[in-house]
């Protein structure tokens, strides 16, 4: 017997996805997360897997894991007492940031308080210049004075972020040597080592977020390794990364900046796999949980990447699967404004107390309560029976709004859903305009606890005609971890005008990056299979202040590189200027190693009609209608039926509106389409 296990820890639930290598079957499990005792839920889940499916730890051949320890540390501001060393006269880098405020119309708008207060920022004289030359030598005595300052404020760690260190890190490295020699008890991190990019605020804030959480994350991973070993799992745990890949837990201890958004990223990786299986080229992935909806673009079966994704209040500028997070989820609270207009969010009941219908003390009406009132939810338990639904409590909560609005309870519920969905439409609209794509030509891959519940509504609002709900929609991030590649990113700033002379620098730079990349894959990750190396560069027209990551070949000529950039500029911005001089700012490289991946079998076709195991009354478009309740584990390829319908399974409930039809594809995915499409 041999099993591959993917685990993803979320705020409320910890998800397990297990692939049985012998039978090709997928098993899923959710257990409650234990944020106060991270790691315990993993062991609890392992015990439960053994109890339910007789999966013994010794039979685990591959183990991937995504954790929110890092993100939660930032959000709850429970990181270490961190200090920052900057170049003298540039100590305000975190305070000033990029000046712009979150809400420019609000005179009271503020940037979040930095993770390192200005009183814990210390000046280091010494100056590097843009070309990497040294203008003023490092003042080593000042470093010693600064270390004394760190001790005086009780600091336990230091981030060193000096000007132009992306070009020449020797001052940063020397500071680290001095700290390690003089104060070995202090944790210390170099900004160029975390991610060596030009733009001092972006590089510094990325290193500060990493430094703030790294000792915590490292401690967690050490405990996890020990716990798994004790439980009898011999496979080295792999950690999912923000770039959609995985790395060893050992690497995660020093590279935690790379794993902070791993949960959302691996969900998108899972969605990409589902899209490929369902023969969908272009899709939007829609992951809705209790407090937020994460939407990502899948283009030709691949996710899109970006930088500047938010960790709590702070942007982090390392390559990350690009996800737009919308502050609306199943727990978003509905309310009536002083003008008598119904609104939904941004307040959320979250997982505690949760929607009123959960009966955990919540009394305010949420989107989930609206689905209970309209009959789509509350027909079975949620989350493996961990949470039960109390329909009366949901009705009572919605009634508090129905009265001031002079509407029936069911009309109020439907209005809440429609308003919430129009809010999601607003955010998705911005995203599709930013990318210049048309959702009407795309499919919606819906997952997460509330994604399949809202998918038909969202698709209707966006004029999308096709929805795919995977077999295990509630644990897709855990599934994504199982199919992720071992993956790392590398960058080098060159800042060159592209021409025949500078091309040598480009090719030499790529050769160096390739050496680093292969060393990482072979030596650090111990991966022996085939390595894939992808070349790209951040390029722009001279005079532009933003770059486009352009895919290049291993030995592209200058003309090839220019052509690739013009084409990419044309694709993204709908124009290109073939006569304008082109600059290369950064060389980039991605290295990939493909671990053995689960190959999901086609399921045997159904032998007859899909049978609703019972009927329910559901309310949509102003009418109560009959709808079948189907059990997901009884649906098989070839089954088809029409909405309204409810499909229940352990990890989520799928709501199908009237006007949609459902078919089951060969892999068991629900394909929900606009009737007559």
């Amino acid at each position: 017997m041999s099993y591959r296990i993917g685990v993803d820890i979320g705020g409320t639930f910890t998800d397990f996805c297990v692939f049985d290598e012998d039978s090709g079957a997928l098993h899923t499990l959710k257990v409650l997360s234990t944020p106060e005792r991270p790691g315990e839920e993993v062991l609890a889940g392992m015990r439960e897997l053994e109890r339910r499916y007789s999966i013994r730890p010794a039979d685990v051949s591959y183990f991937t894991h995504g954790t929110t320890v890092g993100v939660n540390t930032v959000i709850q501001r429970k990181g270490i007492n961190l200090c920052l060393f900057t170049t003298e006269h540039f100590e305000d880098v975190l305070e000033v940031a990029r000046l712009k405020m979150p809400d420019p119309y609000d005179l009271f708008s503020r940037r979040p308080e930095p993770l390192v207060g200005r009183e814990k920022v210390f000046s280091i004289p010494g100056r590097m210049l843009f070309d990497g030359s040294e203008d003023t030598p490092l003042d080593e005595d000042a470093v010693r004075v600064a270390i004394a300052g760190v001790r005086a404020v009780g600091g336990t760690g230091i981030v060193v972020a000096l000007l132009h260190s992306y070009r020449n890190p020797t001052h940063e490295q020397r500071v680290i040597e001095i700290v390690q020699a003089e104060a070995p008890e202090l944790f210390v991190l170099s900004s160029a080592d975390v991610w060596p990019i030009i733009r001092e605020y972006e590089r510094t804030v990325t290193a500060v977020v990493a430094g703030y959480v790294q000792p915590r994350v490292s401690h967690y991973l050490t405990s996890l390794q020990a716990a798994l070993a004790e439980a009898g799992v011999s496979a080295e745990p792999m950690i999912t990364k923000s770039n959609g890949g995985v790395m060893t837990a050992e690497a995660g201890k020093t590279r935690c900046a790379q794993m902070l958004l791993s949960g959302t990223a691996s969900g998108v990786i899972g969605a990409c796999q589902i899209a490929r299986m369902a023969n969908v080229e272009n899709a939007l992935s829609l992951d809705i949980g209790g407090t937020s909806a994460d939407v990502a673009v899948v283009r030709l079966g691949e996710p899109q990447y970006g930088v500047g994704e938010m960790i709590g209040d702070f942007p982090i500028h390392i390559p990350t699967v690009s996800v737009t997070s919308i502050g609306e989820g199943g727990g978003s609270i509905a309310w009536v404004d002083p003008q008598g207009v119904l609104k939904v969010g941004p307040e959320s009941a979250g997982s505690t107390p949760g929607p009123a219908c959960y009966g955990q003390g919540g009394t305010q009406p949420t989107i989930t309560d609206a689905f209970v009132v309209s009959g789509f939810l509350g027909n079975t338990g949620l989350g493996y029976g961990e949470v039960s639904m109390d329909k009366d409590l949901g009705v009572a909560a919605i009634t508090t709004l129905a009265e001031p609005l002079s509407m029936s309870v069911e009309d109020t519920a439907e209005a809440i859903i429609k308003i919430a969905v129009s809010g999601m439409y607003l955010e998705v609209s911005k995203m599709v305009s930013r990318y210049g794509i048309d959702p009407r030509e795309m499919s919606l891959v819906a997952f997460g606890g509330a994604g399949p519940m809202l998918a038909c509504h969202v698709a209707q609002e966006l004029n999308m005609r096709r929805i795919v709900v995977p077999l295990t929609p509630g644990v897709l991030s855990a599934f994504g971890g199982l199919i992720a590649d071992i993956k790392n990113d590398f960058i080098r700033t060159v800042y060159l005008d592209l021409d025949e002379q500078t091309a040598i620098t480009v090719h030499e730079g790529f050769a160096d990056l390739r050496r680093d990349a292969l060393a990482w894959l072979r030596d650090e990750q111990g991966f022996e299979g085939e390595a894939t190396v992808l070349y790209s560069a951040d390029m722009r027209y001279r005079g532009q202040s933003y770059e486009i990551d352009t895919v290049l070949g291993a030995d592209s000529s200058v003309a090839d590189m220019e052509d690739a950039f013009h084409r990419e500029h044309e694709r993204l911005y709908e124009h290109a200027d073939r006569d304008a001089p082109v600059q290369i700012i950064n060389l980039r490289m991605v290295v990939l190693g493909e671990p053995p991946k689960p190959s999901l079998p086609k399921l045997p076709p159904a032998g007859g009609e899909a049978l609703a195991h019972k009927m329910a009354y559901v309310y949509s478009n102003g009418e109560w209608r009959h709808g079948g309740i189907y059990r997901r584990d009884q649906l098989a390829p070839g089954h088809h039926f029409a909405g309204p319908a409810i499909i229940t399974q352990d990890d989520t409930t799928t709501c199908v509106l009237d006007g949609f039809t459902v078919t089951i594809d060969d892999y068991g995915n629900l394909i929900i389409e606009v009737a007559g499409a």
Binding site: V96, M101, D103, Y105, L107, F108, R110, Q339, R434, S545
Partner: protein, 665 residues
């Protein structure tokens, strides 16, 4: 309300989505770096009458929420489907407010009827004229500020009007950029039109037509609710710009706000005559001109961030804007640098409102810092570099709950800086310091936000530095309720050296290798008595380097010994100073106090009243002659009741018999 409130809320989200999508389309496809860097553009949707009912809030400038396109819509005699119109003329309908802003609008038809307009603007880097980038304080006629296209069709039934395009492009310095950006604007209009058609299909044309009116009514009702909460009364507030023209005299904008129930009246009588320079604010006397509404929208939104942003808000307000003044100049007064005066105007509106809501609004934001540009030849490449290196913004005023934000905030929140590392990579300068200026925030129970400061060293000969919108070297950001004014801004050449020069409000400068430039914005005003500030907060400010030990003692009465607050000494010291406060609601700072000594309210009111009786083209001239005479007035003759101004004015008039021939206006 005509349509039900649930549909209204859904329609609202769809309308905003349309406006945001237009903005993202424009931003994505714009050619010029200027548009991407500054986000100085807008998009929106208006009713057939031109009232903006939806605008984006994620991207773009914050100024044009209340823009009404009616005047320019009406200047086109008929519309066909597929038409797109534009104008950048500040004197055709007062929609465009300076020549670089290219405004564009497209009617959206449904079955032959105009249902709404999709609209927007881009600030072009250059539209020709006397100087590169078309803007300078030295210009005095709008003709010098570039080509002006009066309202015209750029597309007729979907076909480009090549005549208009070629005239425009022949007159600008970087035609490819203007053309590229214009194409992006057209793309944004088409995105908006498509979204409107989708909304009509979804909601039905009647619901859409009624709904967009309801969205205006909705914002109006929200605004009325906010204003009704404020006490009725007259609230007077005046403030000055340091100079009306380079090395000129102060320039006053005077305002009396009347709150009457849920309605507002802004009366600008008493403001200075129009300027022989380019800081005039072109309103045409429109009672709800968009530039007069910016401060209002900031205030109402800050009082209640649930406010839906559209032109419905402006319906609760009317303005009195006397002709021939800075707030309503007559053609062809130059208007290019109205940014400077409009920023001051915003803070004046804040000053009027804070009297009505002293426990709900902040002190004055910093301002006065320039947008810094450098134009030089790069030593390494031999190429000329023209770069915007940083906006020197300064912080927000202290407020009833917290300190003002440092370095940026309030009405400068939309600006972004350029990283030090990028500036050094692109521009032949070495940056010696960039950050916050200690002791610049106005002391207060809640401190005013600190100024930003930039110090750099030139690396190339003949480097041209421009510092647009310099102000607040003399008249500083006011504090409120016992809070003190922020520090003045400054602009120095070679600070601390034997060849140091105080550049004052200079906005253009040529420097050579080895020259250093030090520039800072003003600091923001404080809120509440600084002697009531939590000593722990003062200590933290000292530890952070935001307040010096000296200032802790002097401004806050906090005694810090060996890195800790000496609580006993602090209470004793504070008690001994408790009668120190002026008891005045506002603190305007020493520059203003000194000025007010000579230019009392009585004197300045007399001046503006007398000037009003003169022909417009004489007013600025006579103002300067009166100021000259006031400056040398014998101390004994200073009465402050206006009489000395009347005497001087009579003398000046007597000196110029030509004036008698000029017809009064």
């Amino acid at each position: 309300m005509a349509i039900d409130s649930v549909t209204l809320e859904i329609l609202k989200n769809h309308c905003r989505a349309a406006a945001e999508s237009m903005a993202f389309t424009l931003y994505r496809t714009a050619h010029s770096t200027f548009v991407k860097e500054t986000e100085d553009f807008t998009t929106g949707l208006t009713t057939p009458d031109g009232e903006t009912f939806a605008t984006p809030t994620d991207l773009g400038a914050t100024w044009f929420v209340a823009l009404n396109y009616k005047n320019v819509i009406d200047l086109i005699d008929h519309y066909d489907e597929g038409d797109i119109c534009l104008t950048n003329d500040p004197y055709s309908g007062y929609v465009c407010t300076h020549s670089p802003d290219m405004h564009i609008w497209k009617p959206v038809f449904h079955e032959g009827e105009i249902i709404c307009f999709v609209v927007g603007h881009i600030h072009n880097t250059d539209v020709g004229g006397a100087v590169p980038a078309s803007l300078s304080r030295t210009l005095s006629e709008v003709h010098q500020e570039g080509i002006r296209i009066p309202p015209a069709k750029i597309l007729e039934q979907g076909v480009i009007n090549d005549d208009v395009v070629s005239i425009l492009l022949a007159n600008v310095r970087m035609p490819e950029q203007n053309w590229g950006d214009l194409k992006a604007q057209i793309a944004a209009m088409n995105t908006g039109e498509r979204r409107v058609h989708e909304m009509i299909a979804k909601f039905g044309v009647e619901t859409f037509k009624e709904g967009i009116g309801d969205l205006l009514d909705y914002a109006e009702r929200q605004a009325r609710t906010i204003v009704a909460d404020l006490p009725d009364g007259d609230y007077v507030f005046n403030d000055y710009m340091d100079e009306d023209v380079a090395n000129g005299y102060p320039c006053r904008i005077a305002m009396k706000m009347t709150i009457d129930g849920d309605e507002l009246l802004f009366d600008f009588t008493g403001s200075d005559p129009q300027i022989e320079g380019s800081v005039n604010i072109p309103t045409g006397g429109e009672v709800r001109h968009v530039l007069m509404m910016i401060g209002l929208i900031y205030v109402l939104y800050s009082l209640d961030t649930r406010l839906f942003l559209n032109a419905g808000i402006a319906r609760i307000c009317r303005c009195i804007l006397p002709t021939g003044t800075i707030v309503n100049p007559k053609f062809p007064a130059a208007v290019g640098l109205r940014t400077l005066s409009v920023q001051r105007l915003q803070a004046i509106i804040f000053g009027a409102f804070v009297q009505a809501a002293p426990d709900r609004l902040p002190a004055s934001p910093a301002s006065g810092g320039p947008i810094m540009n450098v134009n030089a030849i790069d030593n390494a490449t031999g190429r000329r570099v023209v770069a915007s290196i940083d906006p020197i913004t300064g912080g927000a005023g202290g407020n009833p709950w917290q300190d003002g934000t440092d370095g940026s905030g309030a009405n400068s929140s939309f600006l972004k800086n350029t990283p030090v590392e990028v500036n050094e990579a692109e521009v032949p300068i070495r940056i010696l310091r960039y950050g916050l200026a200690p002791d610049s925030g106005g002391p207060g129970k809640h401190r005013g936000g600190l100024a930003t400061v930039l110090h750099f060293l030139s690396q190339a000969p003949n480097t041209k530095v421009t510092a647009r919108n310099r102000d607040r070297t003399r008249f500083t950001a006011w504090g409120v309720r016992g809070g003190r004014a922020g520090a003045p801004s400054y602009f120095l050449l070679n600070p601390g050296k034997t060849n140091e020069v105080n550049l004052g409000n200079t906005d253009i400068l040529t420097i050579d290798p080895g020259d250093e430039v030090l520039v800072a914005s003003g600091g923001a005003g404080g809120w509440g008595d600084p002697l009531e500030r939590d000593p722990g907060a003062v200590l933290l400010d000292v530890q952070r380097g935001f307040v010096s030990l000296d200032a802790a003692l002097r401004d806050y009465g906090v005694v810090i010994t060996d890195g800790a607050v000496d609580m006993t000494a602090t209470s004793d010291f504070r008690a001994s100073r408790s009668d120190e406060g002026s008891g005045e609601f506002f603190d305007y700072g020493s520059g203003r106090i000194e000025f007010d000594h000579l230019w009392t309210d009585g004197n300045y009111a007399a001046l503006t009243e007398l000037l009003r009786g003169l022909p417009v083209h004489w007013r600025f001239f006579v103002k300067h002659r009166v100021f000259e005479a006031m400056d040398v007035l014998d101390a004994a003759q200073r009465l402050g009741d206006g009489s000395e101004v009347r005497t001087i004015f009579a003398d000046v008039i007597a000196r110029y018999p030509q004036l008698k021939q000029a017809a009064p206006q």
